[in-house]
């Protein structure tokens, strides 16, 4: 049982739940078992996945981002307006956004503020800016992102290629690279990282900036799918992204995160919505049913965690 380490066991639950959900969807709607079908099923997962990764990077340093939904909405508005009409200005705005995220990390660390409060406040800022920019739904997606999001790679649909790519890149960045180790170390034991001579402020700023970058990518990808934007387009991403991280084996504190798990978690959440539609459950009940699926999966994980803890004792 040596290969079945604690970390791999953590990935097993999300992977199995995704497989079970996928099987159920295929059973209910066999036609979805095709290139087009899979693409339709998982298309919307790409921005959710990116937002989940962004949330994961924040949770990695023991914080929580409650502004994820409004921030992604804001980025979507920027993408559908400035990035389309005035690319340089658009890029500049997005760069400033990423810097703002880094700044948020610094302020939260320096002033020892609860991240929940700071990001909740920021969510109103992003939301307000988005409404100022696009008071009514509108805008147009830049052609290149439209092309990218609707591209049809051979054999495997774009959504799956994108998910695998995102998982691979972030896994390398967070788990494999020497730099990612320090970032996770901050989540695990800030003092020990500090005593080893690292700058915790810099590490937090980096983690937040990376999160900002992935959230920006999420907003751009979203507009690539929807072709236009709206100030409220991604509000549910806040909770979806947190649920995705937790579903994928991450923890709220302690720097225990898994990028591959987070991607799988985001895919599972997207599929759960489709699964419920295929079951013809009325939309009134869907959110409740989605919650029920979440509870079942998390309960499974709890059982595994207990086993792990028992084995870890001695």
């Amino acid at each position: 049982m040596n290969w079945l380490t604690a970390d791999r066991l953590r990935l097993l639950v999300p992977a199995l739940s995704l497989a079970v959900l996928l099987g159920a969807v295929f059973y209910l709607q066999p036609r979805s078992m095709s290139y087009v079908g899979l693409n339709l099923l998982l298309n919307l997962a790409v921005p959710i996945t990116l937002a989940t990764i962004a949330q994961m990077l924040i949770m990695m340093v023991n914080d929580l981002d409650l502004s994820m939904g409004t921030f992604v909405s804001f980025v979507a508005c920027v993408t559908a307006t400035y990035l389309q009409t005035d690319p340089w200005l658009g890029v500049l705005i997005l760069a400033v956004c990423i810097a703002a995220y880094a700044g948020m990390g610094v302020v939260i660390h320096l002033r020892n503020l609860p991240s929940i409060v700071v990001t909740l406040g920021m969510s109103f800022v992003w939301g307000g800016l988005a409404v100022l920019m696009l008071p009514t739904p509108g805008g147009t997606a830049p052609d290149w992102i439209r092309w990218l999001m609707t591209s049809k790679p051979p054999i495997v649909p774009m959504a799956i290629v994108a998910s695998v790519l995102i998982a691979a890149i972030t896994h390398w960045l967070v788990i494999r690279s020497a730099f990612g180790v320090v970032l996770r170390g901050v989540g695990g034991n800030e003092r020990s990282v500090q005593r080893a001579g690292w700058s915790v402020i810099r590490a937090k700023a980096l983690a937040y900036a990376l999160a900002g970058l992935f959230a920006v990518l999420a907003g751009i990808a979203l507009v690539g799918l929807t072709t236009s934007a709206d100030a409220n387009i991604a509000l549910r991403y806040t909770l979806l992204s947190i649920a995705g991280v937790i579903l994928g084996g991450g923890e709220f504190v302690g720097g225990r995160v898994s990028p591959i798990g987070a991607v799988i978690g985001a895919l599972t959440l997207t599929l759960a919505a489709s699964f419920l539609s295929f079951l013809r459950i009325s939309p009134d009940w869907q959110i409740g049913a989605q919650g029920a699926i979440l509870i079942v999966v998390l309960a499974l994980r709890l059982l595994l965690n207990r086993r792990e803890a028992r084995e870890g004792r001695q």
């Binding site: 380490t5 604690a6 970390d7 494999r176 020497a178 730099f179 180790v181 320090v182 996770r184 170390g185 989540g187 695990g188 034991n189 003092r191 020990s192 990282v193 500090q194 005593r195 080893a196 001579g197 690292w198 302690g254 720097g255 225990r256 792990e308 084995e311 870890g312 004792r313 001695q314």
Partner: protein, 490 residues
């Protein structure tokens, strides 16, 4: 005392003063570590050792005084990074690895220079080599996360990490209670390595409450009291008794060997039948007894205690009249409520008794807390201070009071005296004994021989089960060691 710096002084602290609010932690301390020597640093809790260590590692700046590195004044630019660059490493009393990372990844955190492609392999090499060197046969897989290692193994990893080298040479290692979770064999391996390291020109500062360890490892012993250095002599001129005398607490004679009790007619308060191969010895505890769980660290003692607790307390719904209370060893994880006051921490398990109509009776709560404060001598001005304002030993005393204040007949203790100073220990021993005489039962897992010798009856654990039961005059270091090692020696 000669405070002039010479080139052999690797690190010197001159006239350091440091205050935290009204508390004067350091009151003008002179401390020197020379190349090629091991300095023992001893003192009561609150003597200023921890502050001095924090100062040397760059965690805080002195209010007054200087820090010299190789005779050069470095006070202004001193910090974590400067200290590390100078080859200074520290193993802290509170284990300070990242629990979510693997052993290898923690090595990477400790060494900035291990980065770029192939860093994992290099880090693995560095830490594995050092572990093999200090603790041969350690059995630690460097790919496991720290959280899934036992406390002893974590401490081994931490020690090896401190001594490991990449590009910067390690010149001075500060070991703050390095053996608190290690059993005698591992502690011996560590002390042997310390002597080797010192012999090769390195410097070590050892802080330990186990005075025999200090005397055998150190060349020179510095005794601190009330933020000052009160004695400094070669280790050979000290004995355990003279060290304790220098620290200001009085050596108490060990209790005379307690006669074995006749328990044939009594009904046990706790019992667990034996499992596994011969010789299978079941666990029993009788009223008014202090039962010790001995043996090498991590051989099933903690698991047995948790098992006993689970058997008695409900897993889901707390019982109205619980039979057992638990005093945790890892007070940061299992004991303290860090945001609560001393008072609230103390009365936690008593709340059902102090409640009327679902409301806590604050006056009764305060009365109970005051009574226990006096009995166990918690050193604080105000019980409403946060629990973390107390020193470690006093925090542990509050946790003891939390268990003792209840009416439960059995108290389970999971090596609760880890890192507690001798004076506090003696006080707690006396309280335990008087409580036992009143009919309470204690089940006490301890890694320290002195504590085991305080017990009425001792079970020795090896490889997860009880291998010997000792009582009365049989409770002696030689018997316990023999039982702990019997098979491994063959």
């Amino acid at each position: 005392m000669d405070t002039a710096a010479t080139s052999r002084d690797m690190l010197a602290v001159n006239g350091a003063e440091k205050s935290f609010g009204a508390v004067r932690a350091l009151a003008g301390v002179d401390f020197v570590v020379r190349a090629g020597e091991c300095v023992g640093l001893v003192g009561h809790n609150g003597a200023g050792k921890s502050t001095l260590v924090t100062l040397m590692t760059g965690g805080t700046k002195p209010d007054r005084g200087r820090i010299l590195l190789d005779g050069q004044d470095a006070t202004g630019s001193y910090g974590f990074a400067a200290a590390r660059e100078h080859g200074l490493r520290c193993v802290f009393q509170e284990l300070s690895l990242c629990p979510n990372l693997t052993v290898t990844e923690n090595t990477r955190i400790a060494h900035r220079s291990i980065s770029g492609l192939g860093w994992r392999r290099r880090a693995e090499q560095v830490i594995r080599q050092k572990l093999d060197e200090i603790f041969p046969g350690h059995g630690i897989d460097v790919g496991t996360t720290i959280a899934s290692l036992s406390i002893a193994k974590r401490q081994m990893v931490e020690i090896a990490t401190a001594f490991s080298e990449s590009e910067a040479k390690v010149r001075l290692v500060i070991l703050d209670e390095p053996t608190s979770s290690l059993d005698a064999t591992l502690a011996g391996q560590l002390l042997a390595y310390v002597r080797k390291f010192v012999g090769a020109g390195g410097s070590v500062v050892v802080i330990s409450h186990i005075l025999g360890e200090i005397l055998s490892a150190a060349d020179r012993v510095v005794v601190m009291k009330d933020g000052k250095v009160v004695a400094e002599r070669p280790a050979s001129e000290f004995t355990v008794a003279s060290l304790v005398a220098a620290m200001g607490s009085v050596v108490r004679e060990r209790d005379a060997v307690r006669p074995a009790r006749d328990q044939s007619g009594q009904t046990p308060v706790l019992a667990q039948t034996a499992t596994g191969p011969e010789p299978a010895i079941g666990f029993v505890a009788y009223p008014g007894e202090i039962v010790g769980l001995a043996g090498l660290g991590g051989h099933g003692q903690t698991r047995t205690l948790i098992g006993l607790y689970r058997d008695q307390g409900g897993d889901w719904i707390a019982r109205r009249d619980s039979k057992v209370a638990f005093v945790a060893g890892d007070r940061h994880v299992d004991g303290n409520l860090p945001l609560w006051s001393i008072l609230k921490n103390l009365t936690l398990t008593l709340l059902p008794d102090l409640t009327r109509f679902g409301l806590v009776q604050h006056r009764a709560e305060a009365a109970v807390a005051q009574q226990w404060r006096a009995r166990i001598e918690v050193r604080t001005q105000d019980l409403d201070n946060p629990i973390l304002s107390l020193s470690g030993g006093n925090q542990q005393k509050v946790l003891f009071a939390r268990a003792l204040a209840t009416r439960v007949p059995v108290v389970l203790m999971d090596d609760p005296m880890r890192g507690v100073d001798i004076g506090t220990k003696q006080e707690v021993y006396a309280i335990l004994r008087s409580e036992a005489d009143k009919g309470r039962t204690f089940v006490w897992y301890s890694t320290e021989m002195d504590e085991i010798c305080q017990c009425d009856r001792v079970y020795v654990f090896r490889e997860g089960r009880i291998v010997a039961e000792l009582r009365g005059a049989d409770i002696a270091e030689s018997h316990i060691l023999a039982a702990s090692f019997a098979e491994q020696a063959a």
